[in-house]
């Protein structure tokens, strides 16, 4: 779906972000990009969406080279979406892009309401000004605005930032639906235990490269997280502890399932 070929990019001569990077993100999957602050996560999304141009090399989306901004193909939740809110009402902020795509006001609002309700934002919020919402609620409005478009490719920069427990789970459920409908999702996250049940591919950025971490092998992937200078997901740490003691448990399940299975394993002993 998304392919990077010999990609080079830097903001200046002494701030190189990617060097000769070739990589592939398969379609119909959810891809999580993790990396230290400043490693280039946002830059990667900006490059794929076409906000930034590579210094050398190329990017292909659906076998076509990216030459401009991908607005027809993809939806992009940027790192600071709140700065681009401008509709006076939550419902219209989410409906805006649909209206822009030619939908009638009522139809656009109906569709927006559908996505908002899946994120736990009910009618009480529709006529509030999005700028006056709390940080977490703003994030939900921004996630809804990106998902409502039902594009083939979703680029999401920190969709879970500032969300509480149920918010994180609701976003996970929405992404699951999107992937089941054939969408490809590439997102960045600092912690992403809630997303593991979607069976994502986890990619780490370090040393100006991307590396795939195979979380089915806890020990090996823990080494990679360490090299990338990151704290690994809690589930992976627990799985590694259990693995040392002869219990093999997959990290690719929900918190509840994981806890239930781990308890069974440990109490049987």
């Amino acid at each position: 779906m998304v392919e990077l070929k010999n990609l080079n990019f830097g903001y200046s001569a002494d701030k190189k972000v990617f060097e000769n990077l070739s990589y592939r993100f398969s379609s119909g999957k959810i891809h999580i990009i993790a990396g230290k602050s400043g490693s280039g996560k946002t830059t990667l999304l900006d490059l794929i969406f076409g906000f930034l141009k590579p210094a050398a090399g190329s990017i292909y989306v659906g076998n076509k080279p990216v030459t401009g901004v991908l607005s027809g193909w993809a939806a992009y939740l940027v790192a600071d979406p709140e700065r681009y809110f401008f509709e006076p009402h939550v419902i219209d902020e989410v409906a805006f892009t649909l209206r822009f795509a030619g939908l009638k006001k009522e139809d656009a609002r109906k569709k927006a309401a559908g996505v908002l309700s899946e994120l736990g934002i009910d009618e009480n919020f529709y006529w509030r000004n999005p700028l006056q919402l709390s940080k977490g609620q703003k994030r939900k409005v921004a996630v809804a605005s990106a998902l409502v478009l039902e594009k083939e490719l979703l680029l999401l920069d920190e969709p879970l930032a500032g969300l509480d427990r149920s918010g994180r789970m609701m976003v996970a459920d929405l992404l699951k639906k999107a992937v089941n409908a054939g969408c490809t999702v590439i997102l960045t996250a600092h912690t992403f235990d809630e997303l593991l049940e979607l069976g994502p591919e986890v990619h780490l950025i370090f040393n100006r490269k991307l590396v795939l971490a195979n979380l089915d092998l806890p020990d090996k992937s823990l080494v990679l997280f360490q090299e990338a200078g990151l704290l690994p997901p809690e589930k992976l740490l627990v799985a590694a502890e259990l693995c040392k003691r002869g219990f093999h448990i997959s990290v690719f399940q929900s918190d509840a399932e994981f806890v239930r299975k781990a308890t069974e394993m440990m109490t049987e002993r």
Binding site: G38, E234, E241, T263
Partner: protein
């Protein structure tokens, strides 16, 4: 020293009235590192604004070092003593180059050149952003912006720091490094109140305050507060995975003396 005395607060817009707090009473000692947790929309930011006097109580009062936030002397006191880290750190950066931005706040308070330079070096070193000294603000990543914004506040050496999710754009490892900086500051008598959704940060605080349902839903030593894992999870607090696991193990009759919160503690217990 901060005290809330039976504080009521609401936002009103036209006929609409959205109540944030009803009868909030609490006391925060000087030099403590306090974490604030709570579901989205529970009033965490409003709580910080009440302390800074940016929101005022409808009823009751908020006192900082004995000064009421409604009193005429409060603003002068707050400008000099309270540092506020905004939820969007971009709003805090003014100058185009990192060192100019950090120096900007010092210039406002008429520090001598030497003193300013000294403080600048101290804060760049503390936050490990010396390499960004001459960097242009527009080329910084989100996480770097967050650390520069923190530097701009710390450089004034406020006695109280209000942090509205000031680590949310950082990877967890870097975030915990920033938390350790806050803890060091507390050792020097500075009070830090930090809003966060991250359990590994919460557990490093002297006290965890959980805001939910317009009141303090739980408070105390974070390890003690986390004993009520199920209740916190139901309040939509991000609870540690391992504490959910320990709870389940206890229910199945396994004896666990001290609740385990993270993988390394589980590992010790298994040994």
């Amino acid at each position: 020293m901060i005290s809330f005395r039976n504080v009521y607060h609401a936002y009103t817009k036209g006929r609409e009235r959205i109540e944030t707090f009803s009868g909030l009473s609490l006391f925060i000692e000087k030099g403590k590192f306090i974490s604030i947790a709570g579901p989205n929309g529970s009033g965490k930011t409003t709580f910080l604004k009440l302390i800074r006097g940016l929101e005022l109580p409808e009823k009751g009062e908020v006192l900082v070092d004995g000064i009421s936030t409604v009193s005429s002397e409060f603003e002068t006191f707050a400008a000099r003593n309270i540092g506020f880290l905004l939820e969007d750190p971009r709003l805090q950066l003014i100058a185009p180059v990192v060192e100019e931005d950090i120096l900007f706040s010092l210039e406002n308070f008429c520090f001598s050149r030497d003193e300013a330079e000294q403080r600048l070096n101290w804060v760049l070193n503390l936050l490990e952003i010396e390499h960004l000294r001459k960097a242009s603000v527009e080329n910084l990543s989100e996480g770097e912006i967050q650390r520069v914004a923190i530097a701009g506040v710390l450089v004034l050496k406020p006695s109280l720091i209000l942090s509205d999710e000031s680590t949310s754009w950082l990877d967890l490892k870097t975030a915990l490094e920033v938390i350790n900086i806050y803890r060091q500051l507390c050792a020097h008598g500075i009070t830090v109140i930090h809003v966060t959704h991250q359990p590994r940060e919460m557990v490093l605080s002297d006290e965890l305050l959980v805001l939910a349902g317009k009141v303090v839903a739980a408070s105390g030593d974070p390890r003690t507060v986390f004993r009520e894992t199920r209740r916190l999870a139901n309040l939509s607090i991000n609870v540690p995975l391992v504490s959910l696991l320990t709870e389940e193990l206890s229910l199945r009759g396994l004896k666990i003396k001290h609740p385990l919160l993270f993988a390394e503690e589980l590992s010790q217990w298994l040994n």
